[in-house]
Each structure stands twice: as structure tokens, then as C-alpha cells.
């Protein structure tokens, strides 16, 4: 049963990822990416990472994708890729190289799969993960807040309309 669910969700994830990179329209790509992020959230649930599944839907599929859709609508880049590609021959090479990378990754990860199985750990509930974040990972956690503040100030500076 779990296998069937995994393969269905994995197929949805792969097809939506292919849709993202193959559809010429950027807004279609954004919607495919939402589907992909949702299916990855479902896989998080299957792996027992409940908090991350919720965070994935809220932060990625919610906040980040809204930002993307806004940017696409502001810039309207729909017709930019319609003309002939001046570097088509160089770009076509990307497909076999990507396939080679995939084979290499699968060879390294699966061909030498000798990861020891640990004990059955705690589930990824908000309780357990929150305790970990505020004890062992307290300093990186605080650094993250500084990073987000810096990003916010930087975006305000970049997107400001310059006088004159």
C-alpha cells in the first residue's frame, strides 16, 4: 500500500518537474512547481516529517510561489522565449549531460548503498523538532533571523525606485 502511494506521488513529482522545464509559458511552470512542492510535502508526511510537510506547504507552496507569480505577472515574460534560440546547439547538449549526471548520482547513491540503519528515531513533530532547534541548533536558528532581516533590507534597497 505504501509502495503504491509512493510511486503515484513520485510520478506526479517527476511529471510536474518535467512540465516546469518544458512548458514555454512561465506561469504554467509556476503552477507545475506548486504541484511538485505539494507532492514533496506528501513524501515528507510518508517519511514521518509532519512539521516539515506543513512548513513546505506554508513557506514554499504558499509564500515563495506567491512571490514568483507576482514577479511573473509584473514582468510578463511570456513572449521572451518564442523567438529562435541563438544557442540551440549548445543547449541541446544539456539533455544528455543531465542524463549522465542522473546516472552518476544513482550509481553513487544506490550502487554503494551501505548506509547503516539507525534506531527508530522520534517522529518529526513540531514538538520534537522545536526542542532540537532551540537546543542544539540555537545559534544557527538565531543566525537565520539575521539573514532574513538582511534579505529584507537588501530587497527594499534593490526594488526602490531611484529618484530621477
Amino acid at each position: 500500500m505504501a509502495h503504491v502511494a509512493f510511486f503515484v506521488i513520485a510520478a506526479i513529482a517527476v511529471v510536474s518537474a518535467l512540465g516546469l522545464i518544458l512548458r514555454p509559458n512561465a506561469i504554467h511552470g509556476a503552477l507545475f512547481l506548486v504541484v511538485n512542492l505539494g507532492s514533496v510535502a506528501a513524501l515528507y508526511l510518508m517519511l514521518g516529517a509532519e512539521f516539515l510537510a506543513a512548513a513546505q506547504v506554508i513557506v514554499y507552496a504558499g509564500a515563495i510561489m506567491v512571490l514568483f507569480v507576482f514577479a511573473i505577472m509584473v514582468l510578463i515574460p511570456g513572449k521572451e522565449e518564442s523567438g529562435p534560440d541563438p544557442r540551440r546547439s549548445a543547449r541541446v547538449i544539456a539533455v544528455p549531460v543531465g542524463g549522465l549526471l542522473l546516472l552518476l548520482l544513482i550509481f553513487v547513491v544506490i550502487g554503494r548503498w551501505s548506509v547503516p540503519r539507525g534506531p527508530v528515531g522520534p517522529s518529526g513533530s513540531a514538538d520534537a523538532l522545536g526542542r532540537l532547534l532551540f537546543t542544539s541548533y540555537l545559534f544557527p536558528f538565531e543566525l537565520t533571523s539575521v539573514l532574513l532581516l538582511a534579505a529584507m533590507v537588501g530587497v527594499l534597497l534593490l526594488a526602490r525606485r531611484r529618484p530621477g
Binding site: A2, H3, F6, A10, A13, L18, L20, I21, A26, G29, N36, L37, V40, L43, L47, A49, L52, A55, Q56, Y60, I64, L67, F68, A71, L75, E80, E81, D85, P86, R91, A94, V95, V97, G98, G99, L101, L102, L105, I106, V109, I110, V115, R117, G118, P119, G121, P122, A128, L132, S136, Y137, P140, F141, T144, L147, L148, A151, G154, L158, A159
Partner: protein
């Protein structure tokens, strides 16, 4: 119980699709979305390995990756909007200003 190696294989597939997307597309917004795809694939591998080892450290790292990705998207989109405002075009082939 689905073996963790299945999740890691799926993560490798999604990552490779993201790499191909970065190279074959000309629209910087789609390239950016492909980068998000790659970040997500790496997150999936981290969660799968954390499950395998039986601790939560992998999930803590994924939490930080999400926060950094949010900051990265905000800054990156601001840069793209600024470039569009100056150039009125949006194709990565035009952006050779910093090429040596």
C-alpha cells in the same frame, strides 16, 4: 515501509531535471524555479537520510534550507525586477555585463 533508497533515487531524478532546466531555459524566472526544484530535491534526500539514521538532525537542516531559500528568492526576484526595469528585456543571453 518504502525503503529510503527509493526516496534518494527520486531526489536524484528531480535534481537532474532541475539541472537540465537551468541550462536549457532562457527565462531567468524559470531558471530560478528550477533552482528551487533542486533545493527541494536536496531537502528530500536530507529527510530520507535522517529517517534512515533515526534522528532529527536532517530535518533541522531542511528547516534552515527553507529559511535560506526564502531569503534567496526574495533577493533574486528583486534583482531580476531591477534588471528588467533597466533593460526592458528578460533573457539570460543579454546579461553578459559581468563577463570577463
Amino acid at each position: 515501509m518504502v525503503p529510503e533508497s527509493y526516496y534518494v533515487t527520486l531526489s536524484a531524478i528531480l535534481f537532474s531535471i532541475g539541472v537540465v532546466g537551468v541550462v536549457i531555459r532562457r527565462n531567468p524566472l524559470v531558471i530560478f524555479m528550477s533552482i528551487e526544484l533542486m533545493l527541494n530535491a536536496a531537502n528530500l534526500a536530507l529527510v530520507a537520510f535522517g529517517q534512515r539514521f533515526g534522528n532529527l538532525d536532517g530535518q533541522a537542516v531542511v528547516f534552515f534550507v527553507m529559511a535560506v531559500a526564502a531569503a534567496e528568492v526574495a533577493v533574486g526576484l528583486a534583482i531580476i525586477v531591477t534588471i528588467f526595469r533597466v533593460r526592458r528585456r528578460l533573457s539570460v543571453d543579454d546579461l553578459s555585463l559581468m563577463r570577463w
